[in-house]
Amino acid sequence: MDASLYAARRRRNTVAMAASFIATGIGLAWLALILGVLVWNGLSGLSLAVFTEMTPPPGSDGGLLNAIVGSLIMTVLAIVIGAPIGMLAGTYMAEYGRHDKLTSVVRFINDILLSAPSIVVGLFIYEVMVRPMGNFSGIAGAAALAVIVIPVVVRTTEDMLLLVPDTLREAAASIGLPRSRMITRIAYRAALSGIVTGVLLAVARISGETAPLLFTSLNNQFFSTDLNAPMASLPTVIFQFALSPYEDWQRLAWTGALIITFSVLALSILARTLAATRKTS
């Protein structure tokens, strides 16, 4: 037995384990630091005015109302456009074409779209919508966000439908239910909470997206619900205000960042609890 070799192995193990502890500590500290700074800077500017007043010109008081409303409108529209397409595509992959060549190709491409750079999506919508229409518009922003929603929903819908036991499908078929009824009445119901989770995750994903909105919906200093005109959104306002030299604008940017982060965190926690109740029931 070589004692020095043994000691060296022990030492190496201790060093590696310590490094792993420290790495985890640093990672968690970083999360705490980001959230801490965000809450500290964001809360100081948080007041009722943020939700009731428009974005101000530099040097005066104001809120983020038009940006919040714009974000809500575009998010809802994006989900309304994107989620059905994603659900239908996911349905084909899980129910009709489970062993198709098409399904495996779509799955591969979809996984790539899932992490494709969002700024490219902005350029795409600029080319196909903004340029032909001749102006930046809220509907173009919603379309850009919808492009990001689709892959998220496709992925979760397929995964959740595949979790539905085949015995349920066979039971439905045995009583003579046509396939489309079996899918809409049985499979969708069994996978409902999972599909809703997917949609929630998609909302969380797009509510912080900035890059695809920069040159589709642009920004708007005023309150506007006109889908054919430029529309303000929280992320673009944060971008503009944070990079400005004015202190009150920067404070509003922090407050906006706090609002976005907590909506996103709340959405993902909600999605997670939904997914968890599914497993236990």
């Binding site: 792993s20 630091l33 779509v106 890059a211 944070a242 922090w254």
Partner: protein, 320 residues
């Protein structure tokens, strides 16, 4: 059964059959739309980039000049910036991610595993603009005052490193952007590595422990070789994110179209150039050049992501 009943029955069946065919085609069209989306993005970008590609041809990729006044555009500086910031991010995030995954799978007490796992995933869900604003107001000033002067004086007399850490400490710059990217991709790398580590059959690990291996040796000689393909896939997925990340970088890179050896100098990336300049771009060639940049970015990330997915598929097949 009367003739009337039979006719009703046939009509009802026909309706159901029609409904079936329609539903099936609608879902199929939706699936094909996903493919069309990718094709559409590529076609739209190629058409949009055409004026620039015609004007500069292949030299677009190899020219550094970026001059809106004379309308001379080249993509070399943004491509260089994109690659360097992503490289810095990977050099930092990969070891950290693997060590955290090791902690989560081997060392962490059971009750702590879920909270830390959730925290890592929440970190992955924070929008990138938050990292950007944090980088601009917190990280950059900190680096400028405390870290960069120390780097400059520490490496000032070392031959190669002195050019890497040259120039005044701006705070913002290539190094800061790389650091922010590292923090952003860390959760992705961690959660994928953890998932593939957990998929290692316990028998393999137990056999190694039974031979008297230390935890580190099990990790190094059993878990890592077994999951190599999956880990590389996860790393490349993180790389794909880092390459295309826009907002976090745009805040802290400084947007300067030049290539300098110094990591402390301001630079630019493909996505940051587009985000900063697109709405202000006047003239067809300027806009087209920015779209051409987007096309290059899309092609690079497509290749990286496709390779990543292919590797992850391979390990899924082996484990599943």
């Amino acid at each position: 059964m009367s003739a009337q009943d039979a006719a009703d029955r046939a009509r009802a069946l026909g309706k159901l059959r029609l409904g079936d065919v329609v539903f099936r085609s609608v879902t199929r069209i939706a699936a094909i739309m996903v493919l069309a989306l990718l094709g559409g993005v590529i076609v739209a970008l190629v058409i949009g980039a055409m004026p620039a590609l015609q004007a500069f041809g292949f030299s677009f990729l190899t020219t550094q000049s970026w001059n809106p006044v004379t309308e001379q555009f080249g993509a070399l500086a943004p491509i260089y910036g994109t690659l360097v910031t992503s490289l810095i991010a990977m050099v930092i995030a990969v070891p950290f991610g693997l060590l955290i995954a090791l902690f989560l799978t081997e060392l962490c007490p059971k009750w702590l595993r879920r909270p830390i796992g959730v925290a890592v995933e929440l970190l992955a869900g924070i929008p990138s603009i938050i990292y950007g604003i944090w980088g601009l107001f917190v990280l950059a000033p900190f680096l400028q005052v405390h870290v960069q002067p120390a780097l400059i004086s520490a490496f000032g007399s070392v031959p190669v490193l002195s050019s890497l850490f040259a120039g005044p400490p701006y705070g913002i710059g290539v190094l800061t952007a790389g650091l922010i990217l590292a923090i952003m991709v860390l959760p992705f790398i961690t959660s994928i590595s953890r998932d593939v580590f957990e998929a290692v059959p316990p028998v393999l690990k137990e056999a190694a422990y039974g031979l008297g291996c230390s935890t580190w040796e099990v990790m190094r000689h059993v878990v890592l070789p077994y999951t190599r393909v999956g880990v590389i896939g996860g790393v490349m997925l993180g790389l794909g994110r880092a390459l295309g990340e826009t907002m976090a970088v745009t805040f802290v890179i400084g947007n300067a179209h030049r290539i300098t050896a110094s990591l402390l100098a301001p630079g630019t990336t493909i996505s940051a150039s587009i985000a900063n300049e697109f709405t202000e771009a006047i003239g067809e060639v300027y806009t087209a050049s920015l779209i051409a940049l987007g096309l290059i970015l899309f092609v690079i990330t497509l290749i990286v992501l496709a390779a990543a997915r292919y590797m992850l598929l391979r390990i899924e097949r082996r484990i599943g």
